[in-house]
Symmetry: C2
Subunit: 362 residues, 2 copies
Amino acid sequence: MVRNRATLKDVARRAGVSYQTVSKLLNRQIRLSEETERRIWKAIEELGYTPHYNARSLRAQRSFTIGYSWPPSPPDETNPILDQFLQSMFVAAEARGYFLLMFPYHYQVDKQLAAYAELIDAGRVDGFILSSVEYNDPRIRYLQDRKFPFVAFGRSNPDWRFPCIDVDGGRGLYDVTQHLITLGHRRIAVLAWPEESRVGNNRLEGYLTALSEVGIPVDHALILRGEGRLDFGYHATHHLLSLPLPQRPTAVVALNDYMAIGAMQAAQERGLRVGEDLAISGFDDIPLARYLTPPLTSIRQPIWEIGQQVIQHLIDIIETGVPPEPRCLLVPPTLIVRASTAPNAKASALSNSPSAKEVVNR
Amino acid sequence: MVRNRATLKDVARRAGVSYQTVSKLLNRQIRLSEETERRIWKAIEELGYTPHYNARSLRAQRSFTIGYSWPPSPPDETNPILDQFLQSMFVAAEARGYFLLMFPYHYQVDKQLAAYAELIDAGRVDGFILSSVEYNDPRIRYLQDRKFPFVAFGRSNPDWRFPCIDVDGGRGLYDVTQHLITLGHRRIAVLAWPEESRVGNNRLEGYLTALSEVGIPVDHALILRGEGRLDFGYHATHHLLSLPLPQRPTAVVALNDYMAIGAMQAAQERGLRVGEDLAISGFDDIPLARYLTPPLTSIRQPIWEIGQQVIQHLIDIIETGVPPEPRCLLVPPTLIVRASTAPNAKASALSNSPSAKEVVNR
DNA sequence: AACGTTCGTGCGAACGTTCGCATTCATTGT
DNA sequence: ACAATGAATGCGAACGTTCGCACGAACGTT
């Protein structure tokens, strides 16, 4: 291992100043004569000097590091936003001189909190990003208790005040439901998540609002709850399609794309043409959605933007010491209309190939 | 921010010893009288002492941190193994007291190397994990030059010597090709990657070996190369299916699941029953594979195991200073046989629902 | 009785920064 | 002409560890 590090002292010696002067120049805490400054920069250049991270952090009591941990996805699912979210966060962090530190996610609460505590006590991180936030999330309670900086991607209890950013899933569901209503649908089923799911409830609200706005009564037989897997979408849709005709839905809104795909399979097995005989929509806009037969209408979350915001916000809190406004920032998702909710047979047939053109709302 | 850190000196004072003694006890560099040791542990416990990371690293000139960066997946694809690979790596790292540091991937070579150089010079990492390694990878050259520890997930130039672990993609393709031959197929097409693709070439070899072993001549019209996208699989398969009957393939082996899905769509559009009229297989075994209609035969990479190995190996190199054996370790993937390569019509029809049972080879 | 050995513990220094205050020197106002 | 100002730089200390060596006591050996 080649360890030829140049230190501040080396630079200073070569530039003929004291090493503290160099430090201050680098931290912009001082104004030097043009001449001296040039000499110092030259020396830095020539020696290829890079400040030593641990020394700086030790003295400054700051780590320029942000901790992040997330629950692994189950073996039969892919996390559709992970890659983009992470990439967006590094880029935002790098721009301000920070890096991300990753650590394992523990489901056991005490182990989980111990992991956060250790990183804090060891001075390894200046703040955390939380995701997959649920009701009564113990991490939020803990970090608030310790007054340690964090920003959450996702909301928690409505009466808690903490810095967070979330996709307005309710808005997404409102948009797609309204879209279906405009197409003439009146009996719209929804494949939802369990009642404990905070994200699920937020989304469901948008559906209910859209219905009530135009005076369509809510039919609770059309709201089915499950674990968000493809199987559930498949079986639930079979169930819906075997309801007596007057109650049978003409459209199915799924809270994620996997359930929507299951729904499509069920419909196709029964000989229904998706988009014409039964409209189906998803959520997440996974890459595959546009390639399905027919292409799936879905809702795209502005993940890149969220990664940027979440990091900027956290660094602001770290560097100013004060959360500017601990309210939750909601960003709207985008409805992507494709053939699975086509207005009529013709549109559906035309867009049956992978190169189908898409309609993006907003 | 509550900053009530206890330091070594606090612990030492309370236990009535010098702080260096406490340090040595924690690092197991010393044997103490039972009595003293108990007092020290008690003090540590009572004060909730956690060693300060930056101080330790500064003195020890080690960061207990591993750097990792990977190319973001294009917007119309999901990285099917990212989540599991990362999770596996943190768990392995944590077990040995390390964490992972993530940083953005730059496509421009000089920027890319600058990122690696800065992390090294700043003393932020003790080693790197590389992935998406290609021929003549500049990162490998650079790190070897600097004699800085790293382990690659993936091979590079055959004549380069560096520590690496890779999935034996050739073996995977050998297995699936042989499987198809056993089912009676003789004209087996392959949807491959561009010639510059190292991974693609490794895999293709297995296909060629399997054919030559049973004396089937290679038909170059059946080897189509493209970018690994769904569209390519779709169009290539349409092309294959319009070949004159004697040259037309009865099976299509795709180098990833997305191309396989495209192939399935093309076949179905032409009214062919996948698994009966045309066998199709993929690679990666994405979660969706088992839910397709029919379920897709694919090849599963032992990602968890690779994450573990890659980290263990790197930490061994870091801690001993010597790469034990710079050869590439190849781990075999697993062939998952499903209905898309069913031996006959009956099997195919039976396994047409999401709950179809799977056959796992090896 | 004198002499190594081992055990348990302590001490001073160093890792490479940043921070606060002190110092030098030229410039300015009166 | 002299104190007061300000600009440019230097100095010592501190951050919390780990490392190498030294030291005294207890013990068995010659």
